[in-house]
Amino acid sequence: MELQEELKSKIIEALNLEDIQPEDIDDDAPLFGDDGFGLDSIDALELIVLLEKNYGIKISDPKTGKEIFKSINVMAEYVAANRKK
């Protein structure tokens, strides 16, 4: 499975986005903010846990998280470059 698709499925599962299908998430669309999927700061923390649990990536600086979670494509790029598993 392409990393983008894998991330979408994992995000939907981790954040309980039951109303959303993977195909509803555009690879370049913002995940947060008014144009996104209504995600909040707790969701951002959950995404940080998701990266550590699934890819062994530890993010300690919240500013880094803000950059990484801009879109699925940005996230996939970061995961591909930094994954430990």
Binding site: E18, I20, E52
Partner: protein, 193 residues
């Protein structure tokens, strides 16, 4: 104190103002079924723990009976309809045990130790009163009491005490207990002074 509407939800039964609702599922799935068929447009529902889902669905059924409620595009009551004269006062005996267990499961195994922030935020029973207040823009009193067991007399006294201030004119109140996904009870009332 006058009762306006009454909702009872148990794992196999939903009764609104003494009239039984038709449901095809039970337990946790039943709450989802009611959300999807009677409420909708509030994706946050799916993120809630069981206690919040139960309280949210029960309060929604009460407020649908009351009518005259305008839900905005973001799934929250319109700003012009905010109110500070309605309290949310709930009670139970198991506090947030259902979510407490779920959170414990995320930290039980040191080799798989990933505390979930989303689960952690619900490890307080009174979060459900906030969820109901946020959805409806209630800025009045919100309280959650944990009792040794269901006690109608104590519950009535607590709600009557809340009406002693000059502000509160009505309340969503009652028993909201959840042990797990298949054992729960909501016995909620909409009452006025």
């Amino acid at each position: 104190m006058r009762t306006l509407h009454h909702v009872v939800i148990t794992p196999h039964r939903v009764v609104v103002d003494e009239e039984q609702m038709t449901v095809t599922s039970s337990g946790k799935m039943m709450l989802k079924e009611i959300y999807q068929s009677n409420i909708g447009n509030y994706p946050k529902f799916y993120k809630m723990d069981m206690l919040c889902k139960l309280g949210f669905v029960a309060s929604e059924l009460l407020l649908q009976k009351e009518g005259n409620r305008n839900i905005g595009a973001k799934g929250v009551v319109d700003e012009e309809n905010q109110r500070d004269d309605r309290a949310v006062i709930l009670l139970n005996s198991s506090s947030s045990i259902c979510d407490d267990r779920a959170y414990q499961a995320t930290i039980d195994n040191l080799d798989d130790y990933f505390p979930s922030p989303m689960v952690f935020v619900y490890t307080l029973a009174n979060i459900v009163t906030g969820e109901i207040a946020l959805r409806n823009r209630y800025y009045g009193e919100t309280n959650f009491y944990v009792l040794p067991q269901k006690d109608e007399k104590v519950m009535t006294q607590i709600v009557e005490d809340s009406f002693q201030d000059e502000h509160t004119t009505s309340a969503i109140c009652g028993w909201l207990n959840c042990d797990d996904e298949d054992h729960f009870e909501a016995d909620l009332y909409l009452v006025e002074k």
